[in-house]
Symmetry: C2
DNA sequence: TCCGATTTACAACCATCGTTGTACTAATTA
DNA sequence: TAATTAGTACAACGATGGTTGTAAATCGGA
């Protein structure tokens, strides 16, 4: 009897993708508001799902948060690794290829996964309130996996004599740092494409000169 | 009549430093728990002050948070600039001095201002919920001021022919990035002094080779 | 010692929120 | 079509928390 008109859900029959709806909706809200601010009601509304369904799928808020972290890290890492493979698989002009790589990484991919990087900021702030195991698992499927993939490519390049690398992990870390122009506090990154190119190029040059073989310096 | 025995406040007369007590207590709690999690009650307890006094001094929670951000940024920036001046004022051996500078910056100073850097993570996560003016003011009295001081020192060093620098601001950014070994997600930084030295040295080498004048490469 | 300002303890208000139970409805399968 | 499953609406509970008013108490200085 208390049935009403509200919420004719999806017009098409879609179902069983409830879980995915929840994950993407929760990513949006967690990334925007952070863990504490984000309410289950807001997430349910964003996902077009009842709050009860969220609890049925993920147990409680903390469980949902961890699932979102894992999912988002996995997707973003795959996208980043794809870019790594695409740009650093076949090197023709090292500096040019690195610049293109950096632009691809900080331009369209950062834009497409903006919510993910916002979520990463939340995780970094919230780390003290997340079980250590969950933080470790996230590091493993996310940043560490990406850095290892990048380090492997750098090692290949070094093996061809185009780079001199002592510690590929440190080199990968340096490269990632030097080509990330974003001020973390300004999510909407009001940086123009020219500015990105300028910062990325400067970062790549600094990286290259720090890791070029002696004969090329 | 409802007077009781709880809370014999400070045995010594201290007063009028209530404001400072609140700021340092709030820094502790905000840094540990983040803005939303931090309750006024917890802050009052940490500061040894009644909640009412907090409202009398800072209006509301948001006002307190912004005051804490400003205060903490100001203190940390002064400490960082002091280290910059001490290590980069008189250069004798550029690489050695830079390594010492990096160690000073990432070792004792990071430890002493650990709460500050934890707060910075909170601000980065919370940026979307803080008035833009407050974020700008924080950037100005904190990171930007430090980077400008570092850029000025680097320009001096370049003027003496020890570095080749096109854009001192970018160079300062690079140096700060390369000598910060901390994984942001692991606040308790379980990195040994040897590991710090290793990472800082690698960062300094990469930076130096990226910015040395040609004749020294 | 007395006055004004500051601080405190306390209560109360109102809002939000995580979570659960439940009965009803829509979708899937046999 | 019947039975099982998954999803929804709704209400309710308990807890927490920001904020304010107020009267007592404490402190600094004249």
């Amino acid at each position: 009897m208390t049935r009403s008109e509200t919420a004719r859900p999806r017009p098409y029959g879609g179902l069983a993708d409830k879980r995915r709806s929840i994950l993407t909706g929760a990513l949006t809200v967690f990334a925007r508001d952070g863990y504490s601010r984000a309410s289950i009601d807001a997430i349910a509304a964003q996902a077009g799902v009842s709050t009860r369904t969220i609890y049925n799928h993920f147990g409680d808020k903390a469980g949902l948060f961890q699932a979102v972290i894992q999912e988002s890290a996995s997707r973003a890492a795959e996208a980043q690794i794809a870019i790594i493979d695409r740009h650093l698989g076949k090197i023709v002009d090292l500096e040019a290829d690195l610049v293109e790589f950096g632009e691809a990484l900080t331009g369209p991919m950062s834009a497409e996964h903006a919510e993910h990087f916002s979520l990463v900021r939340q995780v970094n702030a919230e780390a003290g309130h997340i079980p250590q195991a969950a933080v470790d698992a996230w590091q493993e499927t996310g940043p560490l996996r990406v850095r290892r993939a990048l380090a492997a490519r750098l090692r290949e390049i070094a093996a061809r004599g185009l780079l001199r690398i002592d510690d590929a992990d440190i080199a990968a870390r340096h490269l990632m740092l030097l080509i990330s122009p974003a001020e973390p506090s300004y999510p909407g990154a009001p940086v123009s494409p020219e500015e990105i190119t300028r910062l990325v190029t400067a970062g790549v040059r600094a990286f290259l000169h720090g890791h070029l073989p002696r004969r090329d310096r």
